[in-house]
């Protein structure tokens, strides 16, 4: 075992996690991973190795699809996310998620961000407006949309839409943010904006990000986990994983990418 697992007081502890799709295909094999609080953990690995599958167990979003199932334990501050009695609505308020493709709802920019607030809290209009503004500021989108809050969220540019989704995810103050290749559908400038944003947000949230972009992982993450064919091959401090990887597969993947 390496140094990253068994860290003191991780925010999330994954133990012996396996995952099966409807067709019986096993996508994850006995994953063990600790997610450090107030840090960015990057999940990397070749396409199809199970990164998304792994991330999608943390908020049990896979349960939308009947027949998919996870085995093992995922501990979030002492509650087991995978236990059947876990309240999914509460879990998802604590664990927010941002997807690869931006998913604004067919509502105005304002309503998109206000929507989860109204789902979870009783608030007066003033409070809702304040929190929406704060979330949009935190997502570095406020200046661009403050005069057009009533316009459809789906009319924004791709990068703006993704920041809108981030605002929507953080407005209810979750504890953990999951991001599955959040910048792969977005241009480089917008990508840098989102990376800056994540670096700022890690003061308040625990962040787990799946990325195909090695530079991105190296730039923003504190801890890196390397996945290969459903197994976690190596985890460690990002610097160590990128400079002195312990496993041959990790080294091949990283150097292959860097050329």
């Amino acid at each position: 075992m390496n140094t990253v697992n068994n860290m003191t007081n991780p925010k999330i502890k994954v133990r012996n996690l396996s995952f099966y799709y409807e067709n019986g295909h096993q996508a994850l094999f006995n994953n063990d991973l600790d997610i450090r609080e107030h840090a960015i953990t990057a999940v990397i690995g070749p396409s199809g190795c199970g990164k998304s599958t792994h991330l999608r167990t943390y908020n049990r979003i896979y349960s939308l699809h009947r027949g998919q199932r996870a085995e093992g334990e995922i501990w979030l501050d002492g509650i087991n996310i995978l236990a059947p009695e876990t309240d999914l609505l509460l879990l998802r308020r604590r664990v927010g998620m941002i997807f690869q493709r931006p998913t604004p709802f067919p509502m105005s920019v304002f309503e998109n961000v206000a929507y989860p607030l109204r789902l979870h809290f009783k608030m007066n209009k003033r409070e809702v407006a304040d929190r929406v503004e704060q979330a949009l500021r935190d997502a570095s989108l406020w200046e661009e949309v403050k005069d057009t809050l009533h316009k459809s969220g789906q009319a924004l540019s791709g990068g703006q839409q993704q920041r809108l989704c981030i605002a929507r995810a953080i407005v209810t103050e979750p504890e953990v943010l999951l991001l599955d290749e959040p910048t792969s559908a977005i241009d480089p400038v917008a990508t840098l904006k989102i990376e800056d944003l994540l670096l700022r947000l890690k003061e308040r949230f625990t962040i787990v990000i799946v990325t195909h972009n090695m530079q991105q992982a190296a730039r923003i993450s504190d801890v890196t986990a390397f996945f290969y064919k459903g197994h976690i091959v190596e985890t460690g401090e990002t610097k160590q994983v990128f400079t002195t990887p312990k496993q041959k597969q990790t080294e091949e993947y990283i150097t292959g990418r860097f050329g």
Binding site: L64, R66, L89, G96, T103, A169, T172
Partner: protein, 297 residues
């Protein structure tokens, strides 16, 4: 990990090209045939519309639209009672059918999905859509009109509702399935319950498509005649007793004044009524298509 792209030179030398000439000829033939078929279809439609507009246009007037229908020989014939009756029957049918069909469509798309039960339901819905509408009329006649001992507009509405339900269910399911799972996951990830996700995000997203499906179903049943013959029947009176008496309506008025009457004056009324119902159906169709186009954007 190196990428292995097959090089274009890997095509085997034994492969021979099919002659371009035949492929082009085939292409040309298929194209010509489909253009002719299209012209025939459009031509037939224009012919029908042209006849209805020219014959019906002659009788259309304000009095025609506001007078009640009358037996042959009585002056001042019109279609207002039938127009009102058709409106009442169709709206009642829609009020009955829409909630049931929306719920069924949501159930199929969001809950039952690909289960055995869902596929059985889909099969039944397809069968229902294929049942000749006159049989639906007979069905309501036996189960409602006979026990109630009277024809009524409401019985007609029941028959039309039964016709609408499978159509709206199908379009609802199709429209909801066009909404991508990404949106569903995004809603659930924010902490929506299943039901909040369906109503506030998925249905909202498919709203225009749902409205368009409903309108098309309304347009389709608004001109149905057979199911009304055994249920609403017809009356030259205003539709006062919707639940207990035969109720005037446009489709049956058309059959009454044309096939059931030897008099040219009555035929004229029939043409006028045909024009009015055609216009109504046409307008509903256009609105529905506009909704659908917005949806796709």
């Amino acid at each position: 990990m190196a990428l292995h792209l097959p090089s274009p030179r890997n095509t085997s030398p034994s492969m021979t090209l099919r002659p371009f000439f035949w492929r082009k000829l085939q292409n040309g033939l298929v194209q010509t045939f489909s253009i002719i078929a299209l012209a025939l279809a459009i031509g037939a439609m224009l012919w029908i519309l042209g006849t209805i507009f020219s014959r019906g246009g002659e009788v259309l007037s304000w009095d025609f639209l506001t007078n009640s229908s009358k037996p042959y020989g009585v002056p001042g014939n019109g279609i207002a009672n039938a127009l009102l009756g058709t409106l009442m029957i169709t709206v009642t049918a829609a009020v009955i059918a829409i909630p049931i069909a929306l719920a069924a469509g949501i159930g199929l798309s969001e809950f039952a999905k690909q289960s055995r039960f869902a596929n059985l339901m889909r099969f039944c819905i397809n069968v229902m859509m294929g049942i000749p509408s006159i049989l639906i009329g007979l069905f309501v006649y036996m189960l409602w009109v006979v026990p109630q001992k009277s024809f009524s507009g409401f019985a007609g509405a029941l028959a039309l509702a039964i016709l609408m339900i499978p159509v709206i269910t199908r379009t609802t399911e199709d429209m909801l399935r066009m909404v991508s799972d990404h949106l569903r996951e995004a809603a659930l990830a924010l902490g929506c319950s299943r039901w909040e996700m369906i109503v506030q995000v998925v249905c909202k997203s498919a709203r225009n498509g749902l409205v368009s499906g409903i309108l098309l179903a309304v347009a389709r049943v608004a001109g149905e005649t057979a199911p009304l013959l055994f249920t609403a029947l017809f009356a030259d009176t205003w539709p006062r007793d919707f639940f207990t008496h035969p109720t005037a309506n446009i489709p049956v008025l058309i059959t009454e004044t044309t096939t059931n009457s030897p008099f040219e004056a009555m035929h004229q009324v029939g043409w006028g009524a045909a024009l009015v119902i055609t216009l109504i159906v046409l307008i509903i169709n256009i609105v529905a298509k506009t909704c659908f186009r917005e949806q796709k954007r």
